[in-house]
Symmetry: C2
Subunit: 309 residues, 2 copies
């Protein structure tokens, strides 16, 4: 077996990057040669965490089969979110906390999914189950991902297990969870110097829903209007993406990490289905989604149901 | 949440039945109300194990949604092997040791798969990880499944973890593994009083392969010729099944548990693909597959590859 590559989803967020680092280390400790790589550059939030915990950003790969025959997926499983040539390599393992869809293997594999807020919470349990020590810097990266995915424990995706794992990891890393967490999240909300294209790709995923192809991007901010002031440009870029990438709907979820709610910007056909999914009225493509911060738990499920009718 | 139903695949084997019992007990110990049920009657081998360990056969269900909204799958994940109305219920958890295919959820879930020989080996680890005590009778049932799935550790699917789990479970159950195991396997090879239809359904599963629908039945025996003397009737029944159930190919794998090899009886179209998958020549629909005892590891993968070309 060639060296296994471990990676999270495209447009990697902090969990995608750090769970690859944490799982590759876990595999190494189990005698398996594995390297953490990434399907994109770290975000500013992730870069803040990597810098804080003295870790280089994983190298970015575009394809896997040119250098290995075996991969491990973290923080995702759906083929369209994975490496472009995922069909040409064997999936040895998946560690994930998402729904399972558009995923198929020819052979038995390791698959560990739990409905918790963060992949690194599962990895924390796996380290514990095998009594493998977590180095302080990796603990800090794992903690960063839990804070990121749960918005400092405020997201409805956050479970008791995430909180317990975070507290234990903060102790190993030797840092103050709240203070560090807020600083890290704020580092990720500096959107002013982002181009329109960047806003739409920073954290964007595609979801097949019924017979429709739905693209959902999400950005975190401390000021929703600061993003929506660029609405005209955003809409025009989203329309262009819909045409070229054949998305039926493009949604941008602009999440206020302080107030814990989101503004939804929706572009494409079937906007009536989108509005009905959330029980809102879109006014000039925009609706407020009070209390909504989680794409996975509060955006994808109602949309999937509405588009499957 | 209504009471969760836990079940293995259709045409249940010993692992399908006993892993449902073991996982339902595990869930109960974790405060979740769950009942082990089955998608069919126990085989003679399974009945032998249930009787030995003082456990009633789980009641058989045909549909799930009429009595619950939540289910847990053990020893399978593919929809066509599951309860007929799987699409109408929420899958809370899967514990399995097979490839993942034709499986999709709307929400995150527990999924625990490992490439080991038996679902109960994974369940044994899960009990240990949470320090939950395994009652002696359940340990005996779990051991029975490991013996069944690995043909007393002779199948290539058998791993070191299966052997370790079996040894520990034998100690809890207080029985001799080899002596009990051979008696249980032999109890399952009494095929003389089985009808042709029973031989073809005792342990049969459907697999989509490329654009073909392949049915693979397997029976264990201590005398292959004892089964093949009924070839004419078998072929005619398999042809009828292909017509009515729209299978492209129907395979019967007749496995000698003493010699650890199998005879293959193949009926349907594309028999050239079947023969090429195993590198054999079919003579009057029959070929010997030396050393082949595992459908999962030695039959499905080469066929999947051959049919995907």
């Amino acid at each position: 077996m060639s060296k296994m590559l471990v990676f999270g989803h495209q447009n990697p967020d902090t969990d995608a990057i750090t769970s690859a680092i944490a799982y590759a280390h876990y595999l190494n400790q189990n005698g398996i040669e594995a390297e953490a790589v990434a399907l994109g550059q770290p975000s500013e939030e992730t870069a803040y965490a990597l810098n804080q915990f003295n870790t280089a950003a994983p190298r970015v790969i575009a394809t896997a089969a040119n250098e290995t025959d075996t991969v491990a997926l973290v923080d995702h499983n759906e083929a369209q979110q994975s490496v472009s040539d995922i069909k040409d390599v064997e999936v040895y393992a998946v560690v994930d906390h998402h729904r399972i869809a558009n995923f198929e293997t020819a052979n038995p594999l390791f698959y560990r999914a739990e409905p918790v807020g963060c992949t690194n919470t599962i990895l924390y349990k796996m380290y514990n189950e095998k009594n493998i020590e977590i180095p302080a810097d990796i603990a800090g990266l794992m903690l960063s991902a839990i804070i990121s995915d749960t918005l400092l424990f405020k997201s409805p995706t956050c479970t008791k297990e995430d909180e317990l794992a975070a507290a234990a990891l903060a102790e190993i890393a030797g840092i103050s969870m709240q203070e560090y967490g807020l600083a890290m999240l704020k580092a990720g909300t500096n959107l002013d110097d982002k181009s329109i294209a960047e806003l739409l790709t920073l954290d964007a995923k595609s979801f097949p829903m019924g017979d429709k192809n739905v693209r959902i991007a999400q950005v975190n901010t401390v000021d929703v209007q600061d993003v929506l002031k660029r609405k005209a440009e955003l809409v025009s870029a989203m329309e262009a993406e819909n045409r070229t990438q054949v998305y039926d709907v493009f949604l941008l979820v602009v999440t206020n990490i302080i107030d814990s709610d989101s503004a939804l910007l929706a572009v494409g056909s079937h906007l009536d289905v989108v509005a009905s999914a959330f029980g809102v009225t879109l006014e000039e493509n925009v609706a407020l989604l009070p209390g909504v911060v989680s794409r996975k738990k509060q955006v994808v499920p109602p949309l999937t149901e509405a588009f499957s009718k």
